[in-house]
């Protein structure tokens, strides 16, 4: 029954996602709801299966409960396979002791045994916090054509944004000759997307060597890639020109959600040839009431809407009562907005209840001091009492 796999995916899903604050108090970042009916991890998992990669290791560490249950046996992504499929890989104990994953490279190092079971030629390393649709198989073909040891997917970003990313400096053949992490004066505009393909034999050797170096931080960007470059391995950049967004912060999470309803942004969830799969919540169709007014929004199963919704993403099982108003906001699964409440430029966490006539967040034009404006966040499973006011940019962790 043993089938060799050409390429195995390793998905880094163990980070805390501390910059999502209240939204990742009890949930790992890849399990944060996104785009009305998805969770962030649906994007890399769907990309894998759509690219023909059917063996995925998901490295978990921080608050894995929701994420583990969500992934389950991988069936929603067609990743329940007799050989291969999706496997959740938490840190584990060995005869010589037990260690948490101490870095991205260490997480893969601790699972060399998992990868070796499939005896792959290549390994693709992915992150659990990016929204994009990408054919990894094209990147793999490029890796093979270039006869590379490591291929890093890059996005050409506007010059003024380049200082927010890890920047790759390449020669005319797109060989990577140098790189800089968040440079003040970037020498290039090619930003790393956190997607790497390695020739497994090479990567394995560098992982083992890095582990022996007690000073090393056990990180891909800080150790493995620089080590490979110094040793003269062939590193190439793979240019990607589709939509890609890191959703590691409140602002970027909000923006990426809004991108889905912006007709000028090229990410299409309705393309039947590249579906994004997700675990189904088993709920009735959305019920739109007599008083409802919905425009420029996405709404999914189990919602009951009788208020106004504009420029918003409404996840499964959300209730918006009569007279409630939702503008430019994200309501996560099971959220309830009571009569007369107003939610503007805000994210309401899972199963949280916004009391009658409350005001959550505000439009930017209503605030004089632009620096004090931002997206307001109500965490998961909270109750906001009637008549409450949550200021823009505020982050709510407890019932108010």
């Amino acid at each position: 029954m043993f089938n060799k796999k050409e390429c195995v995916a390793m998905l880094l899903a163990g980070g805390q996602g501390s910059r999502l604050y209240a939204l990742t108090q009890n949930v790992a970042k890849p399990a944060v709801p996104f785009g009305a009916k998805y969770r962030i991890i649906d994007f890399p998992l769907s990309n894998c299966i759509n690219s023909g990669i059917d063996t995925v290791g998901v490295l978990t560490q921080y608050q894995p409960l929701v994420l583990n249950e969500y992934i389950g046996n991988g069936q929603p992504w067609d990743l329940d396979r007799i050989h291969g499929g999706v496997h959740v890989l938490p840190p584990y104990q060995t005869a010589s002791g037990a260690d948490w994953y101490t870095g991205t490279a260490n997480a893969i190092y601790q699972n060399i045994g998992f990868v070796d079971r499939y005896d792959p030629e290549y390994v693709i390393v992915l992150s659990g916090d990016h929204i994009y649709k990408m054919d990894y198989n094209k990147m793999l073909t490029y890796h093979k054509e270039k006869n590379a040891d490591a291929t890093i997917a890059v996005l050409d970003v506007p010059k003024e944004e380049a200082s927010r990313f890890g920047i790759m400096i390449t020669d005319e053949d797109d060989n990577i000759i140098d790189f800089e992490e968040k440079p003040k004066n970037p020498r290039s505009t090619l930003a790393s997307m956190g997607i790497y393909i390695f020739t497994w034999k090479k990567l394995k050797a560098y992982l083992i060597a890095n582990e022996e170096d007690k000073e090393a931080t056990k990180d891909f960007g800080k150790n493995i890639i620089p080590d490979m470059r110094e040793a003269g391995e062939k590193l190439v950049a793979y240019r990607f020109d589709g939509y890609w967004k890191d959703v590691g912060t409140i602002d970027s999470l909000w923006e990426a959600n809004m991108d889905l309803i912006n007709p000028n942004i090229p990410i299409d969830l309705y393309d039947a040839s590249w579906k994004i799969y997700s675990r189904n919540p088993v709920m009735p169709p959305q019920s739109i009431g007599k008083n409802a007014q919905i425009q420029n929004s996405m709404v999914t199963e189990g919602c009951v809407i009788d208020g106004s919704v504009e420029f918003s993403m409404i996840s499964d099982g959300v209730t918006v009562e009569e007279g409630a108003e939702i503008y430019d906001s994200i309501l996560m699964p099971g959220a309830v907005v009571k009569k007369g409440a107003k939610v503007e430029y805000a994210i309401v966490g899972e199963n949280s209840v916004i009391g009658e006539n409350s005001q959550i967040g505000a439009k930017p034009e209503t605030i004089e001091d632009k620096d004090s404006w931002g997206v307001a966040v109500v965490g998961n499973n909270l109750t906001v009492a009637p008549e409450s006011v949550v200021a823009p940019k505020a982050i709510i962790y407890e019932n108010i």
Binding site: G35, A36, K37, Q75, P76, I261, L269, Y270, K275, I276, Y277, S278, N280, V282, M283, P284, P285, Q286, S287, I288, G289, K290, N291, A292, Q293, I294, Q295, N296, S297, M298, V299, T300, E301, V304, V309, M313, I314
Partner: protein
């Protein structure tokens, strides 16, 4: 009374009443008729059985069952992909004696070896013509306690002759025992009508089928319920919860429209007693900049640019700019062109309504557009 529902076998008749919904069942079974925005009729009996704790279910079908097989697949979505029990699809068994069955008795006879092999003690039988969220546990409990041979789920209410002429009607004494049975009578007013769900012991069912077959009888209603009404102990379980019985195209239209009333939808879609269906991985519904949507049920995958009111839209329906959709049921994949106007229309799967078309009908006889048609 605590009932062990692990001891109960479910049998669903997918083809019964195929003729009552007209063209909608031309190429599919009653069980695979679409309903309520994202369901097929068989989802209701299957989910009800699963939610009642029944984990072994046979689906009896006779013809046009391709769409049914496609819908059910491995039955994982109903949690019926099991090592012990699970879902069994029982098409006609190919030999000379039992070809296409003519009545419920012959259908059951074709499934005889399946029924005999089951380790269940009791059997719950259901058709696909009643849409409801029912718990079979108290019905099985009543059946055991009363010592009845057959327990029939029924509803007492005021009915029109239109409804009664396709129903089985029970005359019941003060103890809930059936004293006589009328089939498709010409009546109206207060009646106790059958919801086509029955409970009996497995042994009784097997004996009844054998006996009826040996006499050349094919109808469970006529040859068992009606003829043996006096010699058997037939009890009624009076069902008081929300339900819709689909016995004509207009009742189908009405039952869908009733779900626009939140009070009705809440009685059918009960939390923790979910109605399961096949997953189709659609994106969320998208409401565009200039759309207006009121009093409607909308499924995922819809893209709405026009106006929708008092309507049920199934998965992946597209409503173009300036289009007006009122009092319509638009099934999966229907595409409504720009500036088209629809009123009282039922479209089957993948129907295309071209730009600027106007189609209007009446609530009594909503117009039906067949599968894949282009208007």
């Amino acid at each position: 009374m605590d009932v062990n529902m692990g001891n109960v076998l479910g049998l669903v008749f997918a083809n019964m009443h195929d003729t009552t919904l007209g063209d909608m069942t031309k190429n599919r079974t009653m069980g695979s008729v679409m309903f309520g925005g994202r369901y097929r009729l068989i989802d209701f009996p299957l989910s009800n059985m699963v939610n009642s704790g029944i984990s072994e279910v046979g689906v009896i079908t006779k013809s046009n069952y391709q769409s049914l097989l496609d819908h059910l697949g491995s039955a994982r979505e109903w949690d019926l992909a099991r090592k012990k029990g699970g879902l069994f699809i029982l098409p006609p068994f190919g030999n000379v004696e039992s070809t296409l069955y003519r009545g419920r008795i012959e259908a059951l006879y074709g499934a005889m070896s399946f029924i005999k092999n089951s380790r269940a003690k009791y059997v719950v039988l259901s058709d696909c013509d009643v849409v409801t969220n029912i718990d079979y546990k108290p019905i099985v409990a009543q059946h055991i306690e009363s010592g009845a041979d057959i327990t029939a789920v029924a509803h007492t209410g005021v009915y029109s002759s239109e409804d009664i002429k396709t129903s089985t009607v029970f005359n019941v004494d003060e103890n809930g025992t059936v004293t006589s049975v009328l089939i498709n009578p010409d009546l109206s007013g207060t009646c106790t009508t059958s919801l086509n769900m029955f409970v009996m012991s497995k042994d009784f069912l097997i004996d009844t089928i054998r006996d009826a077959m040996s006499r050349g009888n094919v109808s469970f209603e006529r040859n068992v319920l009606q003829e043996k009404c006096r010699e058997l102990k037939i009890k009624v379980f009076e069902y008081g919860n929300y339900f819709s019985k689909l016995n004509s195209p207009s009742s189908y239209f009405k039952a869908n429209m009733e779900l626009l009333e939140p009070a009705n939808a809440q009685k059918l879609f009960v939390p923790k007693r979910s109605i399961y269906t096949k997953v189709s991985d659609n994106a969320p519904a998208k409401y565009d900049l200039d759309c207006t949507v009121k009093n409607s049920l909308i499924a995922d995958g819809c893209i709405i640019e026009g106006e929708v009111e008092n309507s049920v839209l199934f998965r992946g329906v597209k409503v173009g700019k300036g289009a007006k959709v009122k009092n319509c049921i638009l099934m999966q994949g229907t595409s409504v062109g720009d500036n088209a106007e629809l009123n009282y229309l039922i479209t089957d799967k993948n129907v295309t309504i071209c730009d600027n078309h106007i189609l209007t009908s009446s609530p009594q006889y909503p117009m039906y557009v067949g599968k894949g048609a282009s208007v």
